[in-house]
């Protein structure tokens, strides 16, 4: 990788080595990821882009060890996570947290927001004054202190996403995985949440894995990017380099397809777009 020089001496936090993941049945397998190798290094702001069915969300689940690869391995701080027990995974659970697209489905509607935010502290057995920790976290994501007593439905979409971010930060993770975390938000609210994410990443020295279909947002917030197409990494590199000079035809099609203000719609070359499985 071209970036190696810039971040010398920083060992990857997370690594995927020739990972393959299949779903479906033995006789009719669907390959979600195929021979994917990538790494997440400290302080990375890594974008993972691809369209539906490219394997983005599968990649997220494997990085969080919510499921195991069929081939290859996922390493956390240099150690293979294959076949680890629940207690052996505890450190990873604290260190790697995720924010999903829809805060409505990731927050329990019957729990007060303060309890939702404190939930990872309890389940991960983290000691300390949970109540004051919740207040700290609410403050960090720009929500008023009184929010802890309220329920998710009393918040707007953007505020709920702030709650989800506060919850993800509760265990003081090193890595924050954002899976389409701003995709469901209105344009006028999206910028606020993106700014918040960027500031939190800086303030807490977080490593960010930003999974998105939105090329413009990835370009804005990330420093490095991995492009997935049908379960394979077709290109990876520094964001600006990939955007200015994409090498793979798919990356080229992806970038030229992004509509711009007052631009012209350019239909990309027929890049397998006839295929029903795409």
């Amino acid at each position: 990788m071209t970036a190696a020089g810039a971040i010398q001496g920083s060992d990857p936090i997370l690594q995927m080595l020739a990972v393959t993941r299949r779903y479906g049945t033995r006789s009719n397998p669907v390959v979600a990821l195929s021979q994917v190798s990538m790494e997440v290094r400290p302080q990375d702001r890594l974008g993972v882009v691809g369209e539906s069915g490219s394997g983005k969300s599968t990649l997220a689940r494997l990085l969080l060890i919510l499921e195991d690869p069929d081939e290859g391995e996922v390493r956390f701080q240099g150690r293979s996570m294959s076949g680890k027990s629940r207690s052996e995974l505890a450190e990873l659970r604290r260190a790697v947290q995720i924010v999903f697209q829809d805060p409505f489905s990731s927050l329990d509607p019957r729990l007060r927001v303060g309890d939702s935010i404190a939930e990872p502290l309890r389940s991960l057995g983290i000691q300390g004054d949970h109540r004051s920790r919740v207040q700290e976290l609410l403050d960090a994501v720009g929500l008023p202190a009184g929010s802890a007593r309220m329920y998710p439905h009393q918040f707007s979409g953007g505020q709920r996403q702030r709650v989800a971010i506060a919850r993800a930060l509760a265990s003081q993770p090193r890595v924050l995985v954002a899976d389409e975390a701003v995709s469901a938000l209105d344009v006028s609210v999206r910028a606020q949440v993106l700014n918040l994410l960027a500031r939190l990443v800086e303030r807490f020295g977080l490593t960010l894995v930003f999974i998105s279909h939105d090329m413009a947002v990835v370009r804005h917030i990330c420093t490095r990017v991995v492009v997935l197409y049908r379960g394979q990494v077709v290109e990876q590199g520094q964001v600006e380099q990939v955007f200015r000079d994409p090498q793979h035809p798919y990356t080229q099609a992806l970038i030229s397809s992004v509509p711009t203000l007052g631009g012209r719609i350019v239909a990309p070359p027929t890049f397998d777009w006839e295929s029903p499985s795409s």
């Binding site: 707007s156 910028a191 800086e202 413009a216 203000l261 631009g263």
Partner: protein, 332 residues
């Protein structure tokens, strides 16, 4: 004369106005964009034009197509207009298509509902239509069922149905929002070419300013159920007059720029879009606007002729610093 003229269009839900006094016109062959966030009333406006409002909602005001008032038309007469004079394309093609019917048959049926043609003639037209929406092998592909097609292919079938009878107006509500970005570009390019070829007008409804400004010649901006601004696309992009439009442009440019806005420093609009019925009285953008004054407690009148704006304190061009923002180089 306008092809479609919408005036004083108002729709209430249980006494709460979700669309208030909306007015705009589309000329024959024109591509008009209607932009708005959630709660802006853009979809209700579209449904009101088509006479497809959900049960219990009634539209007041006027929607005139080619001299015919649509709001007072009987359902029977309106059905004849829908599909033949106005056609629509919605966000989710799966809900527009019958899952149990071959896609070719659905196109053929659409033709036969509106025109007196025989089955064979309709089928011939279908086979000519399919290549126009990008199916290179219509005999084989027309026999597929919707689930055997990709999302983009399904939307192209819906577009084939929409253009089948050569409508004067195609109304497309978020037609590409559910699609991947490369497929979105294909479908938008197709839609644009087709309306140009057959001289149809297009009303493109979207939350995506980049999409609308790439396809349409003129843009209507809605917020809180009202039209806050409308102008030609180049004018709106370079000289926005409503603070909301300007804020949207700043945000979009920040995100869609050449990576030159540092992460964490995007221009933002304070607050969030209020829930339905919670928009403030007076100016709907009150509470989120940096130009707000006491006068904004009262609803602003719409002023201007070609470039309309509903604001007591609109931005003035070109001495305004905001006008210095150019359209060049965005995301290129």
């Amino acid at each position: 004369m306008s092809l479609l003229e919408v005036s004083q269009l108002t729709v209430d839900v249980q006494g709460i106005p979700v669309v208030s006094d909306v007015r705009f016109a589309i000329s024959a062959g024109e591509r008009l964009g209607l932009i708005g966030e959630s709660g802006s009333g853009k979809t209700i406006t579209a449904l009101a034009i088509m006479g497809l409002l959900p049960e219990g909602l009634r539209a007041r005001g006027s929607v005139v197509l080619d001299g015919t008032e649509l709001l007072s038309l009987s359902e029977r007469r309106l059905s004849a207009v829908r599909g033949s004079r106005i056609a629509m394309v919605f966000q989710e093609p799966m809900t527009a298509l019958d899952p149990l019917m071959r896609v070719g048959t659905q196109i053929t049926d659409a033709i036969r509902i509106h025109e007196r043609v025989g089955r064979r003639a309709a089928r011939d037209r279908m086979l000519q239509l399919m290549p126009r929406v990008g199916f290179s092998n219509p005999r084989e592909q027309s026999r597929r069922f919707p689930h055997q097609l990709s999302g983009g292919q399904r939307q192209r079938i819906v577009i084939a149905i929409a253009i089948a009878c050569g409508p004067a107006l195609i109304l497309a509500d978020e037609p590409t929002t559910a699609l991947d970005v490369t497929v979105q570009a294909q479908v938008l390019a197709l839609l644009q070419d087709l309306v140009q070829d057959q001289g149809s007008a297009l009303l493109l409804i979207s939350h995506d300013l980049a999409v609308v400004s790439s396809v349409c010649q003129r843009i209507v901006v809605m917020y809180g159920g009202r039209v806050v601004e409308s102008a030609s696309t180049p004018e709106l992009l370079t000289r926005p007059r409503h603070p909301y439009t300007q804020a949207l442009l700043h945000t979009s440019r920040g995100i869609g720029g050449n990576g030159d806005t540092p992460a964490g420093h995007l221009p933002t609009i304070p607050g969030s879009v209020p829930e339905l019925g919670r928009f403030p009285s007076g100016c709907v953008f009150r509470g989120r606007c940096d130009r707000e004054q006491d006068r904004c407690l009262e609803a602003p009148p719409t002023t201007g002729s070609d470039h309309l704006v509903a604001c007591w304190f609109p931005l003035t061009s070109p001495s305004d610093p905001t006008a210095a923002v150019t359209t060049g180089g965005v995301g290129a």
